[in-house]
Subunit: 313 residues, 2 copies
């Protein structure tokens, strides 16, 4: 069956039937959802879009990965603020000749993410379009005044990263090569956001960001927003098995957290935390320095940049 | 200049420079925005997407209308719940060869909407894609327990509509014909959501919806959700000047409010309110009846349906 046979009202009914038990005042089916934030908390609010042929290839990426990942990346953003993810909306555009099977697979992935992260779908929008386009926006909560910003890093702080680096870019490479059994492939298709770790360290961290555009790009965001510089050490970087150098330094879609703090334990919420460098004072040029062996060079942002057709080399 | 010359970081800088003064705890530039909802209020949360060639045609619809409307339709949704719109995110996908002039026009429209509705842009996402996609999600507030739902209509209630009907569909027709001076064209390009009226009647209304898919479709949503039927009168419908019958009954993108209440005044917040019919008891089939002259017929939803290629006749 094609999406055009199901029609918009059929699609909405299908989604509503699956996600009707959201723990909110009012979920799917009205002009808007109504939800409540516990007293003493602020709203954490973000969105992340997924466009066909840019973020995924139909026929290469399974539909359930597209659904899962669209939710997971927002969970990661909320976690990077030290927040707890709660509810989300999906805006979905797709061609009328899309197989309903794809939609069902997509919804399977969304459902998996809901169970795994304790979040709920409370509404959204749908439309026809020439290609598939998914935008998820998410609302979470954070203790008032307790959010981890990009701008709080101070000279003398240590720089930490959760998990390991390079597996998502490696996974995409292995996926394209048809090597589905490589463990990095599932890290690329079903990333595990580190929101539990983020929440756990929020009161001790000075700054944080999730690594969605690559370590080089995202650490540069921290130094720019905090008006500092940073030094990291190649031999301290927790590289994923088989990951190439550029994948470790510049690979995007990692969804590990980069956390700046005085000191963090080696494991938080079951996730290994590795110290990779330190924050330095800087006056004019806020830069990241990479120490590799006996040499030191400036690490420029070389992660993913949309529109420019440059990006990952 | 093309979008690919500006690059993603250039685009984000351009947006951030324009919208940096949002009255929130944390606006554009981090992994998520942080905002606060006044005590005693719930969060109203919705999204609405705009796809090129589905919702607008580049070269026909001005870029600033696309930006303005993407925000306005969400303001309308919040207003249909009786809420006050506050903050929004924009997820924007566009081709690298798009003129930056289009982006600037789009942002002009967003800025106009911010000023007009007292809302603020606090973040979002951007990506390359083969065609333009815009998804806006919005957060507003409503007094706890005070939202107008689709499901509250009761037999004996009266049905009201704000403003007039048919002007958006008529405006699109005139726009396609190149008749830019027809007043309905600006109603199509720059709709005026009725959120002030919605907020003002929220404590007296039993149900409400905004007319985004056409009167026939949206009134059918009310009767289905409320498990009632409805009767409306052709001669009571406030038709826009020059609007054809199908435009009045089925034309979408009106962004007028359909409000069900015991009684409403003739003018609310400067907006005329017209009584067009009444809610009836029904047991099994929840239907809308249209009285036209001496005849009465069932008014089926014939407004816009995505995917199906049917929709407005």
């Amino acid at each position: 069956m094609k999406l055009r046979d199901l029609g918009e009202s059929g699609l909405i009914r299908r989604i509503r039937d699956r996600f009707k038990d959201a723990p909110v005042t009012l979920g799917i089916g009205d002009d808007a959802a109504i939800l409540d934030i516990p007293p003493g908390h602020s709203v954490v609010y973000c969105s992340d879009l997924v466009a066909e042929n840019t973020h995924f290839i139909r026929g290469l990426h399974p539909a359930d990965s597209v659904g899962y990942k669209a939710v997971a990346v927002n969970v990661s953003d909320v976690g990077a603020m030290g927040g707890i993810p709660m509810h989300f909306l999906i805006s979905l555009a797709a061609p009328g000749d899309l197989d309903v099977e794809w939609i069902d697979g997509f919804l399977n992935g969304v459902e998996r993410a809901c169970r795994q992260f304790g979040v709920s779908l409370v509404g959204g929008d749908s439309s026809s379009a020439e290609i598939i386009f998914v935008d998820v926006s998410m609302v979470g909560r954070v203790r008032q005044g307790g959010a981890m910003l990009r701008s709080g890093a101070r000279p003398g702080d240590a720089i930490y990263v959760t998990g390991n680096l390079g597996s998502s870019a490696l996974g995409l490479e292995r996926l394209k090569a048809g090597d589905m059994k490589h463990p990095a492939v599932s890290r690329h298709l079903y990333p595990e956001p580190r929101h539990h770790a983020g929440y756990a360290v929020a009161d001790r961290a000075h700054a944080a960001i999730d690594i969605s555009d690559g370590l080089s790009t995202d650490l540069n965001h921290i130094v720019e927003e905090s008006k500092v510089s940073a030094r990291i050490y190649r031999n301290l970087l927790p590289a994923a098995p088989d990951a190439a150098d550029w994948q470790v330094l510049h690979g995007g879609e990692e969804y590990e957290l980069l956390i700046v703090a005085r000191e963090l334990p080696a494991v938080v919420e079951g996730v290994p935390i590795t110290r990779i460098g330190e924050i330095l004072e800087s006056s004019a040029n806020h830069q990241v320095f990479l120490v590799d062996g006996s040499g030191e060079s400036v690490l420029r942002p070389r992660g993913w940049q949309h529109f420019s057709n440059s990006g990952q080399s």
